[in-house]
Amino acid sequence: MRSHKVIEIRNLTPSTYVIKMEKKDFTFKTGQYITLGFSGSIDRREYSIYSSEQDNFLEVLIKEVEGGLVSKKLKRCKPGDYLDIDGPFGHFSLKEDEISKKKFLFIATGTGISPIHSFIATHPNMDYQLLHGVRMKEEAYERESYQNNNYILCTSREKSGDFHGRVTEYLKENPVPSDTVCYLCGNCHMIYEAYDILEKQGINLGPIHTEVYF
């Protein structure tokens, strides 16, 4: 377990924020996650890393959970506070030999976009399309990070996005070429449904990678 100093808190919506911390000698593979908590506290939660492998800082994207213990406390942390980091963990990673050769489809709901942000920031020249499922337009967290034509915002509660409806509905209306490599990150129901749709569209099991957010 390492202690990392908080550099900045960036509020993206009233409930969602990015914590930027010192990186020190921490290394990770883009897509991995860490566990985070206040130094000395036993309460810890898992967060995917939002920043890129090459950034000289470490960022995580957090949504404050109603009644949540850690996400509420973390939102109140200030520059100069210390947070304990453990990790990196997880196998939700890009394959080196595919990065420059394949076309990627990233599907994320809510803050599930965090590891996808890290993928794209680490490999900005990737050939990708990103479907981001949220309720409202304001949840398009830092959409300027993505090339405009490659980012499709699917809003389920209002018509302000690029597509009105869930990511799964977008997928049904816009079939995916079978040689696409897919990474799905977000809530369990989205992953389950999207998986089914992609399989029916001819995507084989191997190129579908998933990470569940709760």
């Binding site: 898992e46 963990f89 997880g90 196998h91 369990c188 129901h189 992953i191 389950y192 998986y195 399989e199 099991l205 998933t210 569940v212 709760f214």
Partner: protein, 427 residues
């Protein structure tokens, strides 16, 4: 001569580690006695994977203390990591040894008798420095190739108590296998927490398996428990090697896709079936055994039915099923839709009946066929052991010896809860 008694709970890795510690005690003049007898030293190698394992570990601590309150009582294993403060607060326990220091249990006890009292945290913490298991409790020789797990399944406490995944050097593993085979081991079993994720320098799991299979000697290789992720087709092709036993304990945990996702397992049902079908397309009688968790949060009747259906469909040779119990600090602890204990119990009964039927069907197919049995117990004329498929066999023969292979013709099956194949030695 001082007497030592062991109790091991939980996984095969614990069994291996107990075997190695027990050998060390015996090599240093201790006499091994059953756990229910009076001993000078009691070693409990605990488990904490469920509430029930914690409960059992506590019972064995009480039992050891009742048998000899003046004994040196050592508690090690995963419960020692997970409930360290509680255990260190109990006066009757002399040493609470976390997994990292487990290989030093003998040194601690030796120092204790020499009047030197060390805190276990001050001793060697090498995960792979166990000695040989030649005087252990098992005929099969277990080889530890890996420890820890990075998968962080939402129900599982093991990454917290066993730590991050670490692999043993490939040369150490090969030397260990050569040494046990040279000392007469006929069956080598690979153990670890998540062996499919073995990775040492450029070598992955299939590389180490291939190199072990290529070693000379009259032995067979058994893969113990393995997760369905982390290995590729190269490993599956090695399953046809003549030294490889046709048995895999492939952990499924649930037959429901949504539950697998919530467990954060890294495969889906289709992938699991693909592996099983690939393996059985070459060898239809290949024994696939598995683990199932009953009553994971949110498990509906439909989810449970899917699990029952896949057990019937894949005809597992054995199902190790256990009721889900909350483990503190895991992600599933915070899941709100916990399943009622009564429902878990009912589902367990249903599943057990299905699993028993399927097991009997699986084992019945061996009647009339031959098995190569490694004898574990014998009086010279009657013997018990396991065939290459890891199915228990009892047979009659002539001048039978322990730790020898015999070709056995299966003639019948004993239809107990754990059906045993009955046979006769083929001369």
């Amino acid at each position: 001569m001082k007497k030592v008694a062991f109790k091991t709970l939980g996984c095969r890795l614990n069994q291996y580690e107990t075997d190695a510690i027990a050998s060390q005690f015996q090599n240093n003049g201790f006499k091994l006695v059953p756990f229910d007898k009076e001993a000078d030293v009691y070693v409990i190698n605990s488990c904490t994977v469920t509430h029930q394992s914690d409960h059992k570990s506590r019972n064995f601590i009480n039992q050891a203390n009742r048998k000899n309150p003046d004994s040196v009582l050592v508690v090690t294993g995963c419960m020692a990591n997970n409930a360290k403060d509680e255990l260190e607060g109990r006066d009757e326990i002399n040493y609470v040894v976390e997994n990292d220091q487990k290989s030093s249990v003998y040194s601690l006890v030796e120092a204790h008798y020499n009047g030197e009292i060390f805190h276990p945290s001050k001793v060697n913490s090498d995960l792979f420095s166990y000695g040989s298991t030649d005087k252990g409790f098992h005929t099969r020789s277990m080889i530890k190739i890996q420890d820890g797990c990075d998968n962080f399944c939402t129900f599982c406490i093991i990454p917290s108590v066993r730590g991050r995944a670490v692999s043993r050097s490939i040369q150490d593993v090969l030397d260990n296998v050569k040494s046990v085979v040279a000392n007469g081991a006929k069956e080598v079993v690979l153990t670890g927490v998540n062996i499919g994720r073995y990775e040492y320098k450029k070598y992955k799991f299939d590389d180490i398996v291939e190199q072990i299979l290529d070693l000379d000697g009259d032995f067979r290789l058994r893969i113990s428990s393995i997760e369905p992720d982390g290995f590729g087709d190269k490993f599956l092709s090695l399953l046809n090697h003549p030294k490889m036993t046709p048995h895999l304990h492939l952990c499924l945990q649930s037959g429901s896709e949504p539950i697998l996702l919530q467990m954060r397992r890294m495969y889906n049902i289709k992938r699991f079936k693909e592996i099983v079908n690939k393996v059985r397309s070459v060898r239809p009688d290949f024994n696939i055994t598995t683990d199932i968790i009953i009553g994971f949060p949110n498990e509906s009747d439909q989810d449970f039915e899917s699990t029952c259906n896949i057990i019937k469909e894949l005809k597992f040779g054995h199902v190790h099923a256990f009721k889900y119990s909350i483990r503190k600090g895991t992600r599933a602890e915070r899941m709100t839709e916990q399943v009622d204990e009564k429902i878990k119990t009912l589902r367990s009964e249903t599943l057990r009946e299905i699993a028993d039927d399927v097991k009997l069907q699986y084992r019945n197919q061996f009647i009339g066929k031959e098995q190569i049995v490694l004898v574990e117990k014998t009086d010279g004329e009657n013997a018990k052991g396991y065939g290459e498929h890891y199915v228990p066999v009892e047979f009659k023969g002539y001048e039978l010896k322990k730790n020898h292979f015999y070709k056995v013709k299966i003639t019948d099956i004993n239809k107990d809860i754990d059906p045993v194949l009955i046979g006769e030695q083929v001369k």
